[in-house]
Structure formats: C-alpha cells, structure tokens
Amino acid sequence: MILRRLLKYTKPYRIYIFLVLICSVVSILFALLNPVFIGRAIDLIVDSNNVDFSGLPKILLMFLITFTSGAVFQWLMSYFSNIITYRTVKDLRTQLFQKLNKVPLKFNDTTPHGDIINRAVNDIDMVSDALLKGFTQLFTGLTTIIGTLIFMFTINIGIAVAVALLTPLSLIVATFIARMSYKYFRRQSVTQSELTGYINEYVGNLKLIKAFNYETRAQKGFEKINADLYDCGLKAQFFSALTNPCTRFVNGLVYAAVGIIGAVSVIGGYITVGQVSMFLSYANQYTKPFNEISGIIAQLQAAFASAQRVFEVFDEPEESDNGTYNVINSAGKVTINDIYFSYSNEKKLIENLSLSVSQGEHIAIVGPTGCGKTTLINLLMRFYDVDSGEIKIEDVNIKELKREDLRKKYGMVLQDTWLFTGTVRENIAYGIDSICEEKIKSAAKNAYADKFIERLPEGYDTVISEDSGHLSQGQKQLLCIARVMMLDAPMLILDEATSNIDTHTEIAVHHAFSEMMKGRTSFVIAHRLSTIREADLILVMNDGIIVEQGKHEALLSAGGFYSKLYEAMNS
C-alpha cells in the first residue's frame, strides 16, 4: 500500500528507473563473471613446471574487461538512483509544504509544530535513505542471488544445492534479530521524542527557569527521561549490533561447507581446484545480498512508518476554495447575519451575532478576555468558517469569494508578531511583489519604526527573525504595522496590534492609519481607551455575543457593561 503510493512519486523519473535496472543487471552480470576468470586462471597455475603461460594473458585480459565495465555500470547505477531518490524526496517535501499552506488553520492550530517539522525533515530523510538503499541494494541483491544461483548450478549442482540451502539461514537469523530489536527501537524513538519535547519546552523557557530557581527540578526531570533513554537505547543498540556477527557466523558456516564439500569433490575428481575457488567467491557473493536485504527490511519498515506519517498530512482535507465571484474593488460594506461558531462541540463560543458595517466606518471591539473578539476576526478573514449564518462583503457571501481575493481586502496586524528570517526591508515589503525603496521608507516612517531601524547595525539590511536579536516586542509590532502600511487594502483589521507599544507612539500610529484609511472600513480590537474612543461604532462583547453597541459617549451614559469597563480603565 504505502510502497505503491511511494513508488507513484518516482513516476516522473521512470527513465532513470529503467536505466538503473539495466545498469544493475549489466554490472551484476560482469561481477558474476569475475570469479569465473579468476577460477580459470587458477586452473592454469597448477604446480611447479605445470603453469600454462600461453593461456593466462587471454583470460586475464577478459577479466580486466569484465571488471572495468562492471565498475562503470555500477557507478552509473548509483548515480541514477541518486537522482531518483533526491528528486523524489524534493517532490515529497514540496508537496508537504504546499499542503501546509492549504489545510485549514485548525490543523495548524491543533497539531504540535515540532511534530510537523519532524515529518518534513526527519521522516522524509528516513524515506530518502531507505529509497536510495532500497533501490540499489534490494534490486541488485535479488539479481545477484538469482545470477549466482544460475552460475553455481552450471558449475556443480551438488555444491550449488548446499549453498542455496544454507545461505537463507542468515536471512532467518537476521529477521529474527530485526524483530527483536524493532520493539526496542520503537521504544527508543518514543523516548527520544519525549526527551526532545522536554528539551524543546524547557530550553525554550530557560529564562523562566533562571528566574524561578527551577534548575535542579528541571535537571531531575531531564535525568529521569534520559535514564529511560539509556535503558532502551542500550537494548536497541545491542540487539541490532547482533546482526553483523551472527550473519558473519552463518556466512562462515557456508564458507566452511563449500570448502569441505568442494575439497572432497576435487578428491573424488568431480571438479577442479579453480572451480572450488569460484564457489568460495560465489558463497561470499551470494550471502552478501542476503545480509543487505535483511538490513534493508528493517530500514524499509521504519521508512514506511515515516512515509505513512507524511501521507497522513497529504490526506488532510484542504480548505475548500470554490469561490468564483469577483467582488468589486471598493469593498467596505460588511454584513454579519446571525452567525454561530464554536471551535469544539462542547463549548459554544459565538452565538446569534449580527452586525452591519457601512463603508468607511471604524469599528472598535472591546470586552473581557476570552469573549470571542479574536474569533470574530478569524471568521471575517475566513481562517475558520462559520457553523451557521453568513458574512457578506458588499452583499456577497464571503464563501462565494476566492479566499485569496477575500483576504486581499484586509490589511491585518495581530498581537502575536511574525517576522521571518530576512532583512528588515524584506520583512516590510512582505506583502508586495515589487520592492520600491521609497515606499518602504515611508511605510517605516508612518509606522514610527524608521528611527530604531536606522539605529540597527545595518539599518534596513539588518537580518532579523522572530526570536533573534534585541528587538523588543513593541518594535516588532511596529515592523508588522509598517508591513501592512505597504498594502493598499480597502479594509483594516488590528487585533491588539499595538499592545506593547507606548501610547504616545500608538496614537501617532493610529493617526497614520486613519489618514491612510480615510473612507475605508476598519476593525480594531484594543484594551486601551485611546484607541477605542474615536471609533464610529464600539462593539462590547461578552461570552460570544454583542452585549452593547454604540458610540463612546452614548455607551458611557447608558451605564452598562461598557461604562464598568471604562471605570476600571480610569481608576
């Protein structure tokens, strides 16, 4: 099943597969001829004064030709299988990455990121290793076994039967060991990922550990998992290390058997000494693929498990995107009709929410933590779909729009900043295709980020990332704001986008926004009064519903939920 699916990904490289098959058959054929020539040569060198010097050069020349041609084809085979493997792996990674951008955000929110990274990097690497070895060794192994058997049977049936019967012994031994060690390997990989998880979390929070004198306690937890790892690691390593000596022992037995039977046959006059030498070579050549195949089987099992994990992601349902409607450019009217939404079945979140916003209105959303403000944004942007009800832009249900078109209607800044590894310039110009220096600088200026950017070691060329350097949370927020200012979006969403920026700058930034957004619709989530007060409409949310709405003064004089919030802000 998994193998067939995996092989499907090698299809574009069919020509290479064909070449690999040809090269391996040819190179093995040559490899099998080598012992024949060595054996024949030895038969010409019998005893003192009994050496056939006239026949020797011809045989040696043949030998030279076969082994050099064999080597060339062997190299070609490895080269082609390399190409198949690495390109297939690249295709797998690309598809996985593509998938990640197409699955619903729910998948992204609920699957541990470390797990996905592990699939994209380590699991695909496992598949790559096994594919490479699988291609070269499994196939050449089988060809070698068949070829050797044919050659041996043409020389002497008795010895050939003995070799054919004895050799699979090593396969049995190897399979037995593989089954034993598989159990421990699985336990080891589970413990290893447990340890990685622990390190990931505790090293990520090292500053916290220092702040609370948690070092000894953290060490204790670490050593406990580490001791488990030692235990199963030791067993896994020991059992897997049994394979080589054991198969070597079986090979030794085969070698001895061939030697004894061969010698006795020579005494009986059935074969020549040179032929015994051929058999000794074949015995070695015949056991090698068995050892390799038994090694490959264990590895393939692990690779299939990895491939399975990758395919699981491939099989995740994608966000539907069947919208065709092309909405007018001047989008600004948003209507929400009686929507219901919850992340899980147990807990209802948004109920019976309706709202109507006309073009150019500035909407502020306030309310206590967990009341559903951010969820509303998730629904507006279609990161999640409503359970029932509808959201319309310019009277078009957003489900009828292409997601890309819908999202381009909004410029969005979230509280959790996101910067990618790249220069300040690239980060600011993230939303647009052509990089215009002037626009970047003016966006930075409007976002009040220009001053600190210029103080960075390399100004706009300084490489930054989300978790590097000494950028404060507020400075990162300013960069994200500059990024949105580059866009020319008809609507704006700010979700706590200025929470770590001082109010002075915040007000200035908001002024810049309102200048930019004149006549355009905006949604702002904020705790700070300064940002709320001037809104055209304030939505007060609590427990997933809008409890009050109106202008600042009206809400205040109404003396409801809002006025209580306001009081707290001012005391």
């Binding site: 080597a71 990455f97 990097v121 707290a568």
Partner: protein, 565 residues
C-alpha cells in the same frame, strides 16, 4: 573531540576489553583463508578426506569462538556508548542551565536543542564504532598484508603496492566529501527554518495571500538541497567501483606473477587462492575504514559544537550572601549603566524603592524599561554602577537567594505543559494547595482549565498572563516585578489584580512596568524613561505638574491629574 574524552573515563574497562574481544574475532577471521589453503594443498593434493573434515571442524570452531567474542564486544560497546551519551546529555543540560541570559541570547534556544539531541547522538555512534570497528578493520587490513608476507614475500609486494593506492583513493574521495556533509546539514537547517516560520506565521501568510511566495522560497531551498545531494551522490558513488577496479587489477597482478612463483615452485595453488582472498579482505576493510572515517568526521564536528557550549562560561557568578540584615530599602540603583554591546541601553540610573512600596516605570517603546527591571534578578550584569537589594550589592548575593527574593512576571507569558498547580509551584516548590489557591485568587486566575498543553495552546493570552502572575505571587517574594505583563488583561481585571496585590502582599515592593498611566497613577513613585535615562522620578501629581513627557503620556491616554496632594 579529545576534550570530550573525559566522559569516557567511567567506561575504561569497556574501552579496553571490548576491542580485545573484537581483536580475537579478527584474528580468527584471518586464519580462515589459511585453513582453506591447507585444505586444498594437503587434503586435496594427498586425497586425504579425513584431513579435509578435520580442518572443516576447525573452521566451525573458529567461527563459534569468533561469534562469542564479537557478541561480548557488541554488548560492551552498547554499554559504553549509550552510557557516555547519557552522561554527556546530563552534563550538557546542567551546563546549559547554568548559563545566564547573555550567553543564551548568543547561542539561541534552537541551536542548543539540536546540540543536545543530534550532536550527542553522533558522539554516541562514534564511541560505539571506536570499540567495534576501529580495532577490527585496520587490523584485518594490516593482518592480511602480514599474512601474505608470511606466505610469499615476493608476491606480497603486489599487495604492498596496491593497498596504498586504495587508501589514497579513499582518502581523496573523503577529502572532497567532508565539506559537503556540513553543507547538506546547513541546507537542511534552512528547510527546517522555513517550515518552522511558515507554521508560526500561517495567519499572516494567508492574510497577505503570500503562499506562492513562501512556496518559491521553500522550492529554492529544496532544489538547492537536492542539487547538492546529487553532487555528493555522484562523488560518493565512485568509492565502490574505483576500489573494486584497483583491487581486481591487484588480483590480475597476483595471478600473473603468482604464475611465475608457482612455476618456480615457490608457491602452491592453494596459497595462490589465499592471496586472492586476502586481497578482497583488504579492500573490504578499507571500505569499512572509510565508513568509520565519515562517522568520526561527523562526530568531531558535533564534538566541536558541544564543546562550544561547555566552553561558554556563565558571566553571572553567584555571590555568597544568603541573609539580609537591613530589610527597609528593597531596591537601590547607584549610577547604573548597561549595554548589550557598544550601544548604551541604560545610563545614569539612580533610584530607591522601600519595602511595601509600589513603583511604576513608564516610557516609550525601546526606552529601556524592560532592561531596567531585568537587571534586578541579575539576568544581566550592569556595565557600571551597582544595584543593591536590602543594602547588599546583588553581585554578592547567592543567586538562589536573590531569585527567591525577586520574582518577575515577564512580558511574554510562557507556561509549561502540565497542570495549573504544577505551573504555580515553579514559584514555590513546597507550596500547599491552600497557598496555590490563594495565589490563583490574587492573580485573578481562578477557573482556568487544569491541564495545560504545550506552550499553553489551550489558553488565551489573558489566561496565560494571569497564570504567570499567580506563579510569581505564590513564593511571597520580597520584590515583585510586573514587566508589562497585564497587556492582555481587560481594564477591570487589571484593576482587581492591583487591588488584590496591594491587600495581600503588604511588605512586598512591587515594580510595575506599564504603558498605561492609569495603571501607575496610584504608585508611590513613578520613573519616566526616555532613551535609556530616567527623566522624571516622582509621584503622579508632581510628575504631571513638572514632567512634560509624563504629562503628554497622560494626556494621550485621557488620564487626568486628579485631585488631592
């Protein structure tokens, strides 16, 4: 790599005995072709079947003894390598825990994680190979050469000439391959990075409809990796065919010259077969050596990365004071200046906070507020000047005592997977259930799900902040720092929190960093920061009257001067 050798100390026994057993097995393996030669030369020539059987039995006994020796060696290798790896991980983790913020900033959490897992595994593998192969393979090669010399010194010249050529070819290929291994590793890291960033930034990427741009970025990295891997593959695929060609050429020479030696009566037919076998054995051993060389090259790169961490010493060295005599003045800054590098972040900081006081810090983004409070628990050391807690320079205070006295609620609300109680106990290991309940009550964190997922994914930003506040309160610290840590709380929760702290932690000096003037107006003193300096230090009323910057902040937030005083 040798600097890590100290971790092998506990496994000296395994390191010596293991290879000895392996050596014994290899010796037996070398004898096998000799026995085979004897079978042909004595048994076959004299038509002596009994001799053939006898020698056959010898072969089997050799094999069995070899197997036993090998198994013992494998076991010892497992013990030593896994043991060493475990010790290195423990020690490395301990060392990482001892580092201070400055070093952590430099290393980066991501790279620390890779070193603790991947790099240690490389070392572990190298130790196992050290015991299992380092003795075996070269011995087999050298042994085979010696055996041929014993059989026929003149013909062995062929092997003496061919072997160095094989070694040279392997060396040249390795030399060209090694840099590529590092290159591939770094290209793989780039792929990890892009995937990581895309997972974290999914919302932003989709909001900007930039999936195609990201895909392009990823494809470039993927193509780059594939191209390099194919290049490496092309080179490493040379190894086996090339060595085989050289070996087979050697066999041609052996057969050619061997013919003369046999003709002259200096060599028997069986010995000639043994020669051919030894030639094969030498080549196989050389290839194993090449594998070991690769493993050790990788391990030495890993060892360097691990040693880099061990070599990093914490710049924060614990003092010895564990008791405070004077408990009146909780925190005092004397002319403090601070810089991460050359650029000064803080300058001329002087302030004093008494026990039980509430102290506010306000100022623009990047004005140095966070840096200032991070100096108090000694996350970083001052560049000049000094900070005193209860009259003692913090550099003289035992670190554990200091951090028990000072609890901080950081800007980023990080929680640990597990239970709520487990998270709260970070602040006080021995807290009772009642104490935890009390802390949750003060931190306004009652009623949060009791099981917390990794990174607190199942909590909202506000819930995480409340938990981190409760965590800092439970130890009843002498000094409590809230570093802009109520940004996700709504105003009424924020107010309740401040009230609860004032009521329940009467003797605690509370330092609040905030953007909101409203939050700070009741503080006993407020420091107004601008560009790394304190430009105003007084009560709300006095600052409102005398400090322009403060007044501007208040006005921008519609915070009035208010009556009184």
């Amino acid at each position: 790599m040798f600097r890590l050798a100290r971790f092998l100390k506990g496994y000296l026994k395994e390191l010596i005995i293991g290879p000895l057993f392996k050596f014994t097995e290899a010796v037996f393996e070398l004898i096998v072709p000799l026995v085979m030669a004897a079978i042909i030369d004595n048994g076959v020539k004299n038509n002596d079947a009994a001799y053939v059987y006898k020698m056959g039995a010898v072969l089997i006994i050799l094999g069995l003894t070899g197997l036993t020796c090998a198994l013992i060696c494998q076991y010892l290798a497992s013990v030593a390598s896994q043991g060493t790896g475990t010790i290195i991980r423990n020690e490395l983790y301990k060392h990482i825990n001892s580092l201070s913020h400055a070093e952590l900033d430099k290393l980066g959490a991501h790279s620390v994680i890779v070193r603790l897992t991947g790099d240690v595994n490389q070392i572990q593998l190298a130790v196992a190979m050290l015991i299992r192969l380092v003795v075996r393979a070269p011995f087999l090669a050298v042994g085979a050469v010696i055996m041929t010399i014993i059989i026929d010194i003149q013909l062995s010249l062929v092997i003496l000439c061919v072997t160095p050529i094989i070694v040279l070819v392997i060396y040249l290929i390795m030399k060209h391959l090694t840099p590529f291994y590092k290159l591939i590793q770094s290209k793989l890291e780039r792929i990890t990075l892009i995937v990581r960033e895309n997972l974290a930034g999914a919302r932003v990427i989709r909001a900007f409809s930039n999936q195609e741009k990201e895909q392009k970025r990823f494809d470039e990295a993927g193509n780059d990796l594939a191209a390099t891997a194919v290049k490496v593959g092309r080179l490493s695929a040379l190894l086996n065919p090339l060595t085989a060609v050289i070996m087979n050429s050697g066999i041609i020479l052996i057969l050619r010259f061997g013919g003369f030696r046999v003709e002259a009566g200096n060599l028997s037919q069986g010995q000639l077969i043994a020669f051919v076998n030894y030639m094969t054995q030498i080549m196989l051993a050389c290839i194993v050596v090449a594998d070991v060389v690769i493993i050790f090259t990788k391990a030495s790169a890993s060892a360097a990365r691990i040693n880099e961490i061990f070599g990093t010493k914490s710049s924060i060295i614990s003092g010895s004071v564990t008791e405070f005599a004077n408990r009146e003045i909780a925190v005092k800054f004397n002319d403090v200046a601070f810089a991460y590098n050359e650029k000064p972040i803080l300058e001329n900081i002087n302030l004093e906070i008494k026990k039980g006081e509430t102290f506010g810090v306000i100022g623009a983004t990047g004005s140095g507020k966070s840096t200032l409070v991070n100096l108090i628990p000694r996350f970083y050391d001052v560049s000049s000047g000094s900070i005193e807690i209860f009259g003692v320079d913090i550099r003289n205070i035992d670190l554990e005592t200091l951090r028990k006295a000072v609890h901080i609620v950081p800007q980023q609300a990080n929680v640990i997977s597990g239970t709520v109680a487990g998270n709260i106990r970070w602040g006080n290991e021995s807290a009772t259930d009642d104490e935890i309940d009390e802390a949750l009550r003060i931190g306004q964190a009652v009623g949060i799900n009791s099981i917390i997922e990794q990174n607190g994914k199942n909590l909202s930003g506000g819930q995480k902040q409340r938990l981190t506040i409760a965590r800092a309160i439970v130890g009843k610290p002498d000094i409590l720092i809230l570093d802009d840590s109520t940004s996700a709380l709504d105003a009424s929760t924020d107010l309740n929190l401040r009230k609860a702290i004032a009521e329940n932690l009467k003797d605690t000096a509370v330092i609040i960093v905030s953007q909101r003037a409203g939050t700070l107006r009741r503080a006993d003193k407020i420091a107004v920061m601008d560009n790394g300096e304190i430009v105003g230090l007084d009560t709300h009323f006095n600052l409102y009257d005398n400090c322009t910057l403060y007044r501007e902040i208040c006005e921008s937030q519609a915070v009035s001067r208010g009556g009184e005083s």
